[in-house]
Symmetry: C2
């Protein structure tokens, strides 16, 4: 199961951190931007070159420290088709460095359309008996609003190609409660989503008892994390919101089980923009920030 590979990778690095790659123009060190603007002018293509150099540098600098990376699709889509090429090669580069790769694209649609999204991000496109991998990440974030016929094509590809999904359950943003915490039969809607994911993902249970159908549970919601962990020992959590969004290691510690497993914590700006605070080379600053985060998490998490 894909979730076992993720858990083993976390165990090897002794670090449940996923490096978030959310490149934005203001995150790029000036020397990289200048180089590409000099080469390509003030164009989207210059930004593509700068993003690729920037994320490749982060992947190379941190591949010995973190077990996984998460690429946020939006920031590559915003550079158009060429940006999606950077996204695709970013996934390939990370996998070549033995990192587990989460594509954070939050896709969701009706069944036949979800099949196409799943083929794009997890599975393969079939054409006359030939199969083509496209973005080929290890895992994908999925939106639950359309129900099980959205989720099912992704789960089929999880079985077929040993992949994983993280379904949005309780997200880390301020307005997450507006839909997710609506009360249904005495409990918040996101509990129902967690139950749906749990039921659908039973067949993807791996050797640590976790399923390759996991959920997103934001670090900014410590009580939600605690409740979700208590109710669902089988759900692996992708935890965004640590650092820049205000989530703390103490707040998210409840995501982990007694063996220190069960979650991976994302950090994007805290690592990728560390150079802005320290004045050091961005890769050195990122390494330091990642090591500090690793210690912060280790202290908070049992065992």
């Amino acid at each position: 199961m894909s979730v076992d590979r993720l858990i083993d990778a976390i165990g090897e690095k002794k670090n449940p951190t996923v490096l978030g790659l959310d490149p934005q123009p203001e995150h790029i060190p000036p020397e990289i931007m200048k180089k590409y603007i000099a080469e390509r002018g003030r164009t989207l293509s210059a930004l593509c070159g700068a993003y690729e150099t920037y994320i490749t540098g982060l992947i190379e600098a941190l591949s010995g420290i973190v077990p996984a990376v998460k690429l946020q699709s939006a920031f590559f889509e915003t550079l158009g088709p060429e940006g999606m090429g950077v996204f695709q090669r970013g996934i390939q580069t990370a996998r070549a460095h033995n990192l587990y790769v989460i594509a954070d694209a939050k896709r969701g649609d009706i069944g036949s359309t979800s099949s196409a999204y799943s083929a794009a991000f997890l599975g393969r496109l079939e054409l006359g008996g030939t199969q083509f991998p496209v973005f080929d990440a290890d895992a994908l974030t999925v939106n639950p609003y359309l129900g099980s016929d959205n989720l099912e094509p992704f789960l089929m590809d999880c079985e077929r190609y040993q992949k994983m999904v993280f379904v949005l359950c309780k997200t880390s943003n301020p307005s997450a409660s507006e839909v997710q915490e609506q009360t249904v039969g005495g409990r918040p809607l996101y509990h129902i989503v967690a139950e749906q994911v749990s039921a659908a993902g039973k067949r993807l249970t791996g050797r640590y008892g976790y399923s390759s159908a996991g959920i997103v549970a934001g670090a900014t919601q410590p009580n939600s994390i605690r409740t979700l962990r208590e109710r669902h020992p089988e759900l692996f959590f992708l935890v965004p919101g640590y650092g820049a969004q205000g989530g703390t290691a103490a707040g998210l510690a409840a995501a982990f089980d007694k063996d220190g497993r069960g979650a991976i914590v994302n950090n994007s700006r805290g690592i990728g923009c560390a150079w802005q605070r320290s004045g050091k080379r961005y890769t050195d600053a990122a390494r330091e920030a990642a090591l500090t985060m690793r210690e912060d998490l280790r202290k908070a998490i049992n065992p």
Copy 2:
């Protein structure tokens, strides 16, 4: 307001049909596939060429009949970065034919990430004072699960660039009810979503009383459509599910107001795959199917 442009375009063509462009390998007439496989081999690039020829043909054949097209992003993403180029040029081709273009990508994320999605599909990417349009559609479908800080960046671009969003409310797929119809305070969740969209979109109200923040309301759910129209005379509906998914003109007629305004009805396979039933050239078959649908809708809708 963007919604006024859409309503006017529907009025000019006297046809509330949006041509859905959801290309899939089995939708492409064999002569087109053969040509590109001969040129490019059995590759994703051959499929890109075939999709582009196919959708360009449909756009050209139907631009006198329909006011709008809807490109389903998934089927282009599944061909990788080159597919996103086909998606981008498809939008440009449709706009060059004076069609209103809906990008059906169902995006939704935390605020800063939604800003990037919005820049990609509706707005512009800013780089050092220069603005770059990217996919530059007229409207985008948006997922509500993350709440208002997801929606707000899209609405800001709707104001700034005269664009429109359709927020998923009640979708047309079989499992739509699993989340959308959970009962909250005596009413289904999707009513709450409609209220949220209505409140957030007030500032986007145009001269027909409709807002440029609209909703998706599936044709397979006639009772939902009726209730939503009664409760929300200000919400414009994008109605998927007519035809192949089982929705009928009679069932969706309640989406329209007494002046025959208020909704646009998508048809993808019923038009784009009409050649498979008739044996005619695909563009001729598509024209006939679109004209039949126009009559079907005209009969069902007042006035």
